[in-house]
């Protein structure tokens, strides 16, 4: 079943095109990696899907419903959540309460925190591995713990589709392994994932499919092993030239 | 009648420009909103009044004295502003709000709430030209304001120091990286602002009644003009000042003097609602 459909999506800022004509589909249960060099438009695409930006042209369909131009909180209530490139916890709340915001507001609203909400929040903290820090002030967590808190908070909103922005940036191989385990645990909960991964250390190992962007355009899509041998993708990342191409 | 309104609008507007320039400069360079600005103008006016009335100084000599007094205070204020942390704009608003209350009450203590005026008889006399009456007071306002604007223009656009100032206004970090002493620029901005305030105060005192709580209105004018112009645009401030002066003059003729105080407020709200970056500023991304 199609979870997300992007139709001819583009975004221009003051005449400069950040994304042009993106056509792409994400299916239920997939892990899709969004790759591309700096400035390719990955974060712009995230911002369009999550509602932070309005597309200049094109449509976004979520489970068949047109959500183009919907605000972020509405998008969240429908089932799309995201994390951010630099972690944004609510610093003066406890870790537990951070997750509870997602739990309480992600779908609907309740006036008070119910026992089942707290239970769910504890469980999610356990999933991401910071259950022992439930009562700590979010500002006092380490950077890696804050990242995991962001993930737990996003999961608390019960998303169908989760957008992860550079979740493994700067990670050592050990941490990448942990991240992969975490992502698979998330997938087991029935969440479809779209991961932005500039350094490719994560998506190559965990993604079913890759979508490669360069200068705002889709240059390739397909399984990782094929994409990483794709001429256009290599050229975008490494600037390689081939003998049978003309020099610029 | 309309020509009188036009003339008074332009001269009032030029005066507003003078008042706003200091505020805009400080904000542009240091990202600090100084809500005590109006109170400082009134303070400078009071210094001039005190010297003129109690010590019988010639009015012209009170100008440098007022400038000096304002300079001292502004340098002190700058020390306090320097201790602020992010977000600078909001924190400076709250801090300077407190400063405004402090300065206002000091003036209340020093001079009581009675209305004061520096009466210079020559200023209320004027020229009878065909169709309008131009008081010497208005001419002085116009002349002094435009001279200060011209001097500031030359400083900002024709000197190296001005270039450094403009660079700091545009992008503090880049300016720092280019070797500009950003903190020094901040101090310079406060000093220039203090000079402008120190000159505006006595002018204000001889054309308007001085009382402690009038600073609030002056601050609102300065804020409106600065927001209208957008950050770091001298031309915008000139345009904004004249538009505001004319708008107030015409409002007085059309609706009566009691509606004058709402003009700046409505203008500011309209600006903030639709174009927070200023009329000539870039649009929102």
């Amino acid at each position: 079943m199609t979870v997300l459909q992007l139709q001819e999506l583009s975004k221009t800022f003051n005449g400069i095109s950040a994304l042009s004509n993106i056509d792409f589909t994400i299916n239920e249960g997939e892990i899709v990696g969004l790759v591309g060099p700096n400035g390719a438009g990955k974060t712009t695409l995230f911002n369009l899907i999550s509602g932070r930006l309005r597309p200049s042209t094109g449509k976004i369909l979520f489970e068949g419903k047109d959500i183009t131009g919907f605000k972020p909180h509405a998008v969240c209530k429908l089932g799309i959540s995201r994390t951010f490139q630099s972690s944004r916890p609510f610093s003066r709340m406890s870790t537990l309460h951070n997750v509870l915001t997602g739990q309480v507001f992600g779908k609907g609203f309740s006036l008070h925190i119910r026992p089942e909400d707290e239970q769910m929040a504890h469980e999610l903290l356990d999933v991401v591995g910071i259950a022992h820090k439930a009562e700590t002030l979010a500002a006092d967590l380490t950077l890696s713990e804050q990242r995991r808190l962001d993930l737990a908070r996003a999961l608390a909103t019960r998303p169908k589709l989760l957008l992860l922005d550079e979740v493994a940036a700067g990670f050592s191989p050990v941490l990448v392994k942990q991240a992969i385990k975490l992502i698979n645990r998330v997938r087991e909960r029935g969440v479809t994932l779209l991961i932005v991964d500039h350094f490719l250390n994560l998506s190559l190992k965990v993604a079913d499919r890759l979508l490669a962007l360069d200068h705002g355009e889709k240059i390739a899509e397909g399984p990782p092993n094929i994409i990483m041998r794709n001429r256009e993708v290599l050229r975008a990342y490494l600037g390689m030239r081939y003998p049978d191409e003309e020099d610029d | 009648m309309w020509t009188t309104a036009l003339v008074s609008g332009i001269s009032l507007g030029s005066f507003y420009i003078l008042i706003a320039l200091g505020f805009a400069l400080i904000f542009g360079v240091t990202r600090n909103f100084n809500l005590a600005h109006g109170e400082l103008v009134v303070f400078a006016g009071y210094v001039s009044y005190w010297l003129w009335k109690v010590w019988a100084w010639p009015f012209v000599l009170t100008f440098p004295a007022a400038v000096l007094a304002t300079l001292l205070i502004c340098l002190g204020l700058q020390r306090l502003f320097a201790r602020l942390c992010e977000p600078l704009e909001l924190n400076s608003i709250v801090l300077s709000f407190g400063m405004a209350i402090l300065i206002q009450n000091t003036m209340l203590f020093w001079f009581s709430g009675d209305y004061r005026l520096i009466r210079i008889p020559t200023l209320s006399q004027g020229l009878h030209l065909p169709g309008l009456y131009l008081s010497y007071g208005q001419v002085t306002l116009l002349f002094l304001s435009l001279s200060m604007i011209a001097i500031l223009y030359i400083l900002m656009y024709r000197t190296y120091l001005g270039k450094a100032l403009r660079a700091t206004i545009q992008d503090k970090e880049a300016a720092a990286q280019a070797g500009i002493n950003v903190a020094g620029m901040g101090t310079l901005a406060f000093c220039l602002g203090a000079i402008l305030i120190g000159l505006a105060g006595p002018l204000y005192g001889c054309t308007h009644y001085l009382y402690p709580s009038t600073g609030h209105q002056i601050t609102l004018l300065a804020v409106t003009i600065t927001i209208f112009a957008g950050v770091g645009r001298l031309g915008g401030i000139i345009l904004a000042g004249w538009i505001l002066g004319l708008a107030e003059s015409f409002a007085v003729i059309l609706c009566g003097a009691s509606w004058r105080e709402m003009v700046a407020a409505v203008l500011l709200l309209t600006l903030l609602a639709f174009k927070p970056r200023g009329i000539l500023g870039k649009g929102e991304q």
């Binding site: 507001f105 006036l111 | 709250v94 804020v223």
Partner: protein, 330 residues
């Protein structure tokens, strides 16, 4: 320390204990105050005004806790004062009716402010509020048929009277009665603020205050919650304005729309602790009597410099406010 720091850590339990101790002490003292001062009317009047300002500070803080700083809350105060004054004076309605109506009018004004300031944040919102207060002020000042303009309204009806069966009390009859009326309102407001801040609404307010973008991403509509906090804040400020009108029985535009009622509640909220429940009230009940009993006699003109100094010191040295900081320590 915010309410949602944690329910269980030692840290916040202490904070809660401190709150409770402070609350109980304060309540007891305030209840027995008239007896303590042997019904000295002057002292009672000062504390009545202090309680009124405490209410204003609590109301201001409802907006403050969602991250917005308003420099022009007197717009709501004055609108409420004039609404209740005009309705009770010209139409003879009971204050029990006009006071809540005044709150509704103020809330309506808040709705208008929200429409204008929807996209404004931080400093620009604050500047907008500075300008906004001029509009109801100038309109009131010029609408002579309705408000008598700058002459003000005199001989306003006093606070209402309450009859339950055979027992009745006229709150306008004595200073002590007025004191208990305002005090009762303080209790109601305090209870409401506590309920609000401890509920999920308070959670939303804190979230949009700290990280608006992240809050939106977890389903919190920043605009909607900001509007809610503004409407509630405006309502209770308007109600306080109405109470003021019936308390002093004379109002004029320069006074009720003036800086005094914009600045002082804000200063109490910030100096007491913008993100606490009790802080604003505590600041009002300590600083205002200090101003009236100590500094006013010393400096009949200019004693309000105290508020400027307190604000400057708080911004520079004690951003959590004195009550907020004390909570952290104890």
């Amino acid at each position: 320390m915010s309410f949602f720091a944690s329910k269980n850590t030692k840290l916040n339990t202490r904070g809660l204990k401190f709150d409770s101790v402070g609350l109980v002490t304060g309540l007891v003292l305030l209840i027995i105050l008239p007896a303590l001062v042997k019904s000295n009317n002057y002292i009672l009047q000062v504390f009545t005004h202090a309680l009124l300002l405490a209410n204003l500070a609590l109301a201001w803080n409802i907006l403050g806790v969602s991250g917005s700083i308003s420099l022009g809350h007197a717009a709501f105060f004055g609108a409420g004062a004039y609404c209740s004054a005009v309705l009770s004076l010209e139409y003879g309605l009971s204050s029990w009716l006009t006071i809540p109506l005044a709150g509704l009018l103020a809330a309506g004004l808040g709705l208008i402010m929200n429409l204008i300031c929807l996209r404004l944040r931080g400093a620009y919102f604050a500047l907008a509020t500075l300008a906004f207060v001029e509009i109801p002020r100038v309109i009131t000042d010029n609408w002579d048929e309705l408000t008598h303009g700058s002459l003000g309204l005199v001989s306003l009806p006093g606070l209402p009277s309450l009859s339950l069966g055979t027992w009745s009390v006229d709150f306008s009859a004595s200073i002590m009665a007025s004191y208990y009326f305002v005090f009762a309102f303080s209790l109601v407001l305090l209870g409401l603020v506590r309920f609000l801040f401890n509920s999920n609404l308070g959670l939303a307010f804190q979230a949009i205050r700290e990280e608006e973008i992240a809050a939106e991403a977890v389903g919190i509509s920043a605009n909607r919650y900001r509007l809610l906090s503004l409407l509630l804040s405006a309502f209770f400020t308007g109600v306080s304005g109405a109470c003021y009108a019936h308390l002093v029985r004379y109002i004029e535009p320069g006074l009720v729309y003036g800086l005094h009622f914009s600045a002082i509640p804000m200063i109490f909220a910030i100096c007491g602790g913008r993100f606490t429940i009790l802080g604003p009230a505590m600041a009002a009940l300590i600083i205002y009597p200090l101003d009236q009993f100590v500094f006013h006699p010393l400096l009949p003109a200019g004693h309000e410099f105290l508020y400027g100094v307190v604000l400057i010191l708080t911004v520079l040295f004690l951003p959590a406010g004195f009550w907020g900081s004390l909570r952290k320590i104890f």
